[in-house]
Symmetry: C2
DNA sequence: ATAAAGAACTTTGTTCGGCAAAGTAACAAC
DNA sequence: GTTGTTACTTTGCCGAACAAAGTTCTTTAT
């Protein structure tokens, strides 16, 4: 029996970042307010977690204007998808003790 | 789409406590040093996480002497098993966005 | 030009959690 | 009573998470 706890990705242990990545794994581009509504957190809090994901290049950002209003959207990068899947695989191994 | 992030159990978000519970889900009684070796952490650190799990009544404790030496063992309570399974179910829902 | 408004950050300050290291208690053996 | 081992507690530090307040950027109105 060999647990691989330290192979878990710290970035994805936080529930907010887990939520953001889960959303971006199944939706191509999602904007700031959609994330905010889904996650039910303050804008400042969301911004800081997004910043952390962007710092790891796990998500990418697109800024534009829609209906004369600023609109920022995000999507998972290839690296982000890979890292997230890897995290989930490790998680499964730990839980099921494979 | 409705994420249920706040239904995740805070006690199981920490990787050490996740590891302890994972071990105790598939092994009946496990002693202190076995856990310490598997998790590769200091005894003080392990003790504090065990304390947290015990405070929630997620694990129970048995103290005895084996070969003239003190030996403390732990196992998951029924409540602990239930809570852990529930946590994993929520986790799966979030990840797979059911 | 200037002001007002909205979106998306950033900053500030507090609180909490995790951790190592050192210290302590309990019991056994002698 | 002294020593040894295990398990646990305390201490102190550092970093993460969060809310709330402040800031920036651009558009639209005046």
């Amino acid at each position: 029996m060999e647990l691989q706890l330290n192979k878990l990705n710290k970035t994805f242990e936080n529930r907010i970042r887990l939520g953001v990545m889960s959303i971006l794994m199944v939706n191509d581009w999602v904007d700031f307010n959609s994330l905010k509504d889904l996650l039910k957190i303050t804008d400042g809090n969301l911004a800081s977690h997004i910043k952390a994901l962007e710092a790891e290049t796990y998500i990418e950002i697109n800024k534009q204007f829609i209906n004369k209003k600023p609109n920022t959207s995000y999507r998972a990068t290839l690296l982000g998808r890979k890292a997230f899947n890897e995290h989930l695989n490790i998680l499964e191994k730990i839980i099921k003790q494979k």
